[in-house]
């Protein structure tokens, strides 16, 4: 029965995707993309990926829409020119789709417990996590410890992307010519959203911290928490004006966060070497190897959370500052 729900959601997703490509109004495309993100998150949840669904929720519901809309405000809302070589592109895409669909017939059955994916390292992770790390959430264990090197790479990619956006948008003559005081006031004249937003912001922050530190026991972790905390502060910036948000957390502090997160991560890794283990081997961090692993995961998740918060907020402010 649940498979049928998934199939229905996927059908809605395909319809949304086609509508996104067909519309010429970019604002509508962004709205439909928000809907697509909701469907995707629902599907992740149906496919047992609670952590992934939480990430998609934290990113897709707020930050993605905010970023696309601020980019649209700086560029234009409509597509002007017609598509190039419609027939040719459609043929290429259709042929590729048919090839891919043909290939699916050789795939292992959906949900097959004996598929190659399921029999490689995954059983080992599931079996050994209680023994080596002793936390309930295997996803966090894999993310933080077994594949910590991978995660370090991802954190550095996020870091680099943030630096890239700051380089692109952080300097030079801004485009807009709006009166400064109008821009600065945000939505301060809209009383009802402002009051409600003020009620919600502390709870979102609290929830972000809960997700950060509860990540070992339930769905959550640094990536989700960073996005949720950034969303709370973006909400504040939308309500009170971007300048107020910048005076609460200045750009310098944000830059510090962006740099501090990866540094904390690397420091934990190097501490492992100094204490006589391998790079990112947390077992040596404490006299008891299980406690060491838990401590290491806690620290690197904090590093991840700090990086993601800093990068997402810096990106938001870079786009917002461009509109002034």
């Amino acid at each position: 029965m649940i498979v049928i729900f998934g199939v229905f959601l996927l059908t809605l997703l395909v319809i949304t995707a086609i509508a996104i490509v067909r519309t010429e109004n970019l604002f509508v495309a962004v709205m439909l993309q928000g809907i697509a993100s909701l469907f995707i998150a629902g599907n992740f949840f149906l496919l047992d990926a609670a952590d992934v669904a939480l990430t998609e929720a934290a990113i897709g519901a707020g930050i993605s829409t905010v970023l696309f809309l601020s980019a649209l405000a700086l560029t234009s809302e409509r597509e002007r020119s017609k598509s190039s070589n419609k027939m040719l592109s459609f043929t290429v895409v259709a042929v590729a789709a048919l090839v891919l669909i043909y290939a699916t017939f050789d795939k292992p059955r959906f949900g097959d417990p004996n598929a190659p994916v399921q029999t490689h390292v995954a059983p080992w992770y599931l079996e050994k996590t209680p023994e080596y790390i002793d936390i309930p959430n295997v996803v966090t264990a894999v993310l933080g410890s077994y594949r910590g090197y991978d995660t370090l790479g991802e954190v550095l990619v996020v870091f680099t992307a943030g630096i890239g956006v700051l380089f692109l948008l952080g300097s030079g003559a801004p485009l807009g010519s709006l009166p400064q005081e109008k821009i600065n006031e945000g939505l301060r004249h809209h009383l009802i959203p402002r009051v409600v937003g003020r009620v919600l912001i502390p709870f979102i922050l609290l929830f972000g911290l809960y997700v950060q530190f509860h990540g070992e026991y339930g769905p959550g972790g640094g990536f989700q928490a960073g996005a949720i905390i950034a969303a709370a502060i973006i909400l504040f910036a939308l309500l009170e004006g971007e300048q107020r948000a910048l005076s609460v957390i200045p750009a310098r502090v944000l830059l510090g966060l962006v740099a501090f997160g990866p540094l904390l991560y690397l420091a934990v890794g190097i501490a492992g070497i100094v204490l006589g283990g391998n790079f990112l081997d947390y077992s040596v961090l404490s006299s008891d190897s299980v406690t060491g692993q838990q401590l290491g995961i806690l620290l690197i998740e904090a590093g991840v959370g700090i990086t993601v918060t800093g990068v997402l907020l810096s990106i938001f402010h870079a786009f917002a500052a461009r509109g002034r």
């Binding site: 109004n25 509508v28 809302e77 809209h190 009802i192 959203p193 409600v196 009620v199 919600l200 709870f203």
Partner: protein, 110 residues
Amino acid sequence: MSMLLDILSWVLLTLGGLSILIGGIGALRMPDLYTRMHAASVTDSMGAILVLVGIMLQAGLTLATIKLIAILLFLLISSPTSSNTLASAALLAGTRPFEEAHQSDDEGKE
């Protein structure tokens, strides 16, 4: 007693599902933006209350119930605010109520 609770929660869940469905039909069939918004937002809150209270009765006194209460509270605060915000934005941009809906995609411009 638990039998009674079960029946009550089933009734609530069914009513909630019905209310959600009515809201969906209303949002699709109503003639203009404001009536659609009315259909959607009222049944949104009603459906959320009915469904979540229905689940709460099933969950009993656990952590889950507390989380459900939190979800319900936040939904009850934020969902009507969103509708209000949206309606006032539409009104400010010049969408008139009670007209035949024939605005273009980018109405409110010029």
